[in-house]
Chain length 267, copies 2
């Protein structure tokens, strides 16, 4: 089901700047028994992403109320997607003054491809552009992800890994990558490209609290290939170990359960 600005409504004006320019941000939320795990993290991230685009963000209370209404009307939903755009605009890039943002909530069902067993990933050819002004934000300019995902049509492959134009590893098209390597939990730096995911941040935070050595830095493809274990994480799938990446395979690693614990126990 689809709700727009609190009303059940499946269509929006063609003048929305989300359509014209991708001028907005979004969140994909897992729904469990009508509740949204890690809601505080999601709201904080939405608010931060909006602030970086000078986009006004609804209050947590407004957002929560609209989400609750949407989920009450679709009790079987397993996820909700939330899109916040800059609302309607006249022609031209200048952000309109005082025009209200538009909030779209879509609820639905379906399982994340990352829950597939075995979990198969591949390297993508596309290189992500380096744009510090947009990096980390889950914004609506996602053509790079679309082009990367279009590189394969074999449904057995769940995810593609991406590097940036400087050959630094960034992560998956729809997930963050974590490496367990030489006794360290390593996350690629996403300050130049990619998305700073809520699930990934929770895992890193939880791992540091649990006393693991945690690093966030530029990662090379060779480090990925010789890692002891690789994990993908996002809000829908949690943390999942990669079983196969192109020609390389890994056995199940004990860190899988540990990182899942970090994800769920993080405050």
């Amino acid at each position: 089901m689809i709700w727009i600005d609190g009303q059940p409504e499946a269509r929006l004006p063609a003048t929305d700047r989300g359509l014209a320019y991708g001028d907005g941000v979004f969140r994909t939320l897992r729904v469990a028994a009508g509740e949204i795990p890690w809601w505080q993290d999601h709201y904080a991230k939405l608010h931060d992403d909006a602030a970086r685009l000078a986009l006004s963000c609804p209050t947590e209370e407004v957002l929560r109320r609209q989400l609750e209404a949407a989920l009450a009307a679709d009790p079987g939903a397993s996820h909700a997607k939330l899109i916040l755009t800059r609302g309607d605009g006249a022609r031209g890039y200048a952000p309109p003054q005082g025009s209200p943002p538009r909030l779209i909530i879509m609820t639905g069902t379906g399982e994340s491809p990352l829950l597939a067993k075995p979990l198969i990933a591949r390297w993508c050819d596309l290189r992500l552009a380096i744009q510090p002004r947009l990096a980390g934000i889950k914004h609506l300019n996602r053509l790079e992800n679309v082009l990367a995902r279009a590189e394969w049509s074999d449904d057995a492959i769940a995810e593609g890994l991406l590097m940036d134009t400087g050959d630094r590893v960034i992560g998956g098209t729809m997930s963050n990558l974590l490496l367990w390597r030489r006794g360290e939990l390593l996350a690629p730096d996403v300050s130049g490209a990619g998305v700073a995911g809520v699930a990934c941040a929770r895992v890193l935070h939880g791992a540091a609290r649990a006393g693991l050595r945690v690093g966030v830095r530029a990662v090379a493809a060779a480090e990925v290939m010789d890692a002891e274990a690789l994990f993908l994480c996002n809000s829908l799938a949690g943390v999942r170990q990669i079983d196969h990446l192109d020609e390389r395979s890994w056995s199940p690693h004990e860190m899988g359960a540990a990182l899942l614990g970090c994800l769920h126990e993080s405050p």
Copy 2:
């Protein structure tokens, strides 16, 4: 007025991939006495842009028929914006198979800011990311342009000039830049960032035919500042000389009329 897939309709499904990912391309067309100048160039560019995203493009006949209907219903229109998206999609980046694209036509009035006299431009701080897979395409991922345009609020300033992250000059937020310098008409290379505009291509082509020395290459900011004349061009404004760029000013240059001639006479 707004038309969607040939019907007068101002709203579209929230599931459109143009909204979700900016998965589409667009054109801004000048309308003169109900006709669209350089229609063949515009259609060819739309078709090429769509092909680069593996997006299926309506035939010229279909597009022309829909545009004619839209313009007949809005006889005072001075421009038309045409958006072509990949249509509706389920959640996920994978382009849907066989799903029809969606065509949105918006007609309207209003003058281009580039027609202001004097024409004042500024340098933007934002640096465009380098992404050869998307460079040149007039796609719907335009957050960089939005952020750049948000750098100023003084309406007297019509346009902002952008460099890429490698400090190469690319062009304006909504126009292409041309330099007249040392007897050469110079256009910044847009193979790494920026949009390859139809008006600019016409001017360059016409200038070469007229026997002018024409170059397309990487351009440094210093070359812009010591050019004998600078011009901005797009489909709505044609070719216009920049009068002021930050602290630097230029007197009207005879190349202005020559380039306008190239634009209009190009076959």
